[in-house]
Symmetry: C2
Amino acid sequence: MEGTHAALEDLLVLDLTRVVAGPYCSSMLGDMGARVIKIENPKGGDDSRAYGPYVNGESAYFAMLNRSKEGVTLNLKAPEGKRIFLEMAKKADVVIENYRPGVMDKLGLGYDVLKEVNDRIIYAAVSGYGGYGRYSQRPGYDILGQAMGGLMSVTGPRGGSPTKAGNAMGDILGGLNLTIGILAAVHARGLTGRGQRVDVSLVDSVVVSLENVFTRYWYSGKTAPRNGNTNPATAPYDTFQAKDGLAVIACGNQALYEKLCRDVIGCPEWIGDQRFLDNVSRVANMDELKPLIEGWTVQHTVAELVDRCLEAGVPAGPVYDAAQIVRDKHIAKDRDMFPVIHHPVIGDMHVNGDAVKLLETMPRITRPAPLLGQDNVPVYGELAGLTPEQVEEYGRQGVV
Amino acid sequence: MEGTHAALEDLLVLDLTRVVAGPYCSSMLGDMGARVIKIENPKGGDDSRAYGPYVNGESAYFAMLNRSKEGVTLNLKAPEGKRIFLEMAKKADVVIENYRPGVMDKLGLGYDVLKEVNDRIIYAAVSGYGGYGRYSQRPGYDILGQAMGGLMSVTGPRGGSPTKAGNAMGDILGGLNLTIGILAAVHARGLTGRGQRVDVSLVDSVVVSLENVFTRYWYSGKTAPRNGNTNPATAPYDTFQAKDGLAVIACGNQALYEKLCRDVIGCPEWIGDQRFLDNVSRVANMDELKPLIEGWTVQHTVAELVDRCLEAGVPAGPVYDAAQIVRDKHIAKDRDMFPVIHHPVIGDMHVNGDAVKLLETMPRITRPAPLLGQDNVPVYGELAGLTPEQVEEYGRQGVV
């Protein structure tokens, strides 16, 4: 059986999402074999079609996040557009949207309407603050999720200001939770026979990602300080300056610390030093320990010191930037994290691969991202019963 | 039907995971109704039982991440321990582990062995570098995932050093991807009749979270700089100093910028300023724009300026720390992100709630985290056919 199936091959997903959080989710579903139909407004489509980098006039960013999707245009404000959408919703398993909560209801296409035409449909939404709660109508952006969810408060140099993760981490966490919610709701439908709403917010997603931050707060009354790259629970566990860059050395327990001193650095006398006798004292005196270790690391290249540590069984690795990551054979080759696909306008392009390795139904990119409205004729023919002539006429009317 | 089902109520999960990434995944599964049996070594159990904060001698951290799980002890090195595990694996839907790759194979309990006794089993593993590839045997920690996956390279103050997200973000992303992989594999089993391996690495998980960082690299040859809290694509989109703290103002488009100038700050002349005419010029001149905006924000409290922005439709919010988040009524009350549960030793305690809101099968915490070996007698009675006397004898022998 294996190899002939894709994990989600029986699911039909109508994808109304734009920009990052929703498209990240739907591209995962598409790579896992779901049939994802991306529905864009006829006037320009997904906002991220306007995000660089551009190649031959097309957004490579859009192309990366929207592979493995078919693409149609539809004006959800036009009565005929609504009718076409409802016709497709009858056949769909999942609808995904990331409008501000309430927009779909105002369009007359909210969950209450969709479930009347298809009570098995799963209606999945991701927004800044969620579909209910007193802030649900606030406009949300990734940076607000990171700020109000607390991630910024714990990130940054010691003594420095709250710092945003450099990627759209709030969107990514929201997209991952949305994917989990959709798959759980599909499973639940097998038990109940009915679909349901899935509601994910960026702020909630960031909050739960902080794991022990809140537990510590509840019992100490103290908010977590920003710790740079150190770990308040163990030391040495930090970045260290090498000859040609930064490296991580991470000693999670006493045995690893002893190996580092004795077998890697050759200073066994540090093991018995009263300041560094056990993990608790090393955490308390990490500012005295770090320069000692760095006195050794600065004499070596990152590659040398990582090799030396790993030979001794001490966890270590380089601090990579994008250029180093795409050249790393483990990441790029063995784990296939930058597959090349062919886009009709951009040409051959690298995209980000999949982190969820399903060994018998491996995610794979099924098609390049759609040009705007590319699949209108076949999709509306199949799922809304329209002839090519009708699709053309609706195009002239601005319905599709 | 609704309300009487939990989304994953028909799944039996054997959970061998420790510390963060795996337990984060299995607590989500448990909250969504799966029966999760946490299997710990009889000598002390999960390492995170030794992580603070402690309350009445119990780790509140462990208790937070391991709710909604039953708990047994088992020595997987003992022949009788292996036999008991295999007996339970016959009945399980999912086995989850986060050992270093190969450990389960060496124990004689790898996927190849488990699928012989149960070809429907899903074997899900999360590790630093994944179960295959040239680094698979390296020891992995969260900080290495963040460093080698590139998150640190894009996070931090402008001109500053690579900075770790202050939480265990690599572990969290890995745990979320593992959850997705398990649910997708359960779905695929419905199509193929067979289980499979799910393999997730922290490094892969961080790599794909960086979205546009790699796309920009492929087309510019440049690695992304650290941008503090700014956004290289739009401005103003940053943190701003208020009278009593930091606030975010996020203008994702021209209309929002114009509202900010005219309706919030009362400086409509900034709209036509040549330096700030459109988004491209505002990004180029953000260092001149920020002090102008901050000249206004420093005169107001965070709460005042957020209100003023939101009234005008401009996205804004506070930069919260843990103490502020747990007091925020939207987050804590409306979204129920800090439910209180009763733990037999710790007493009533707040734990982190669930970010995946399934409106008809809402995740809920089914039980407090287990004391070490708490459920040995009932679980081994039911799933391994052992009498209470046999469990007791195995306890004396160090098997359970």
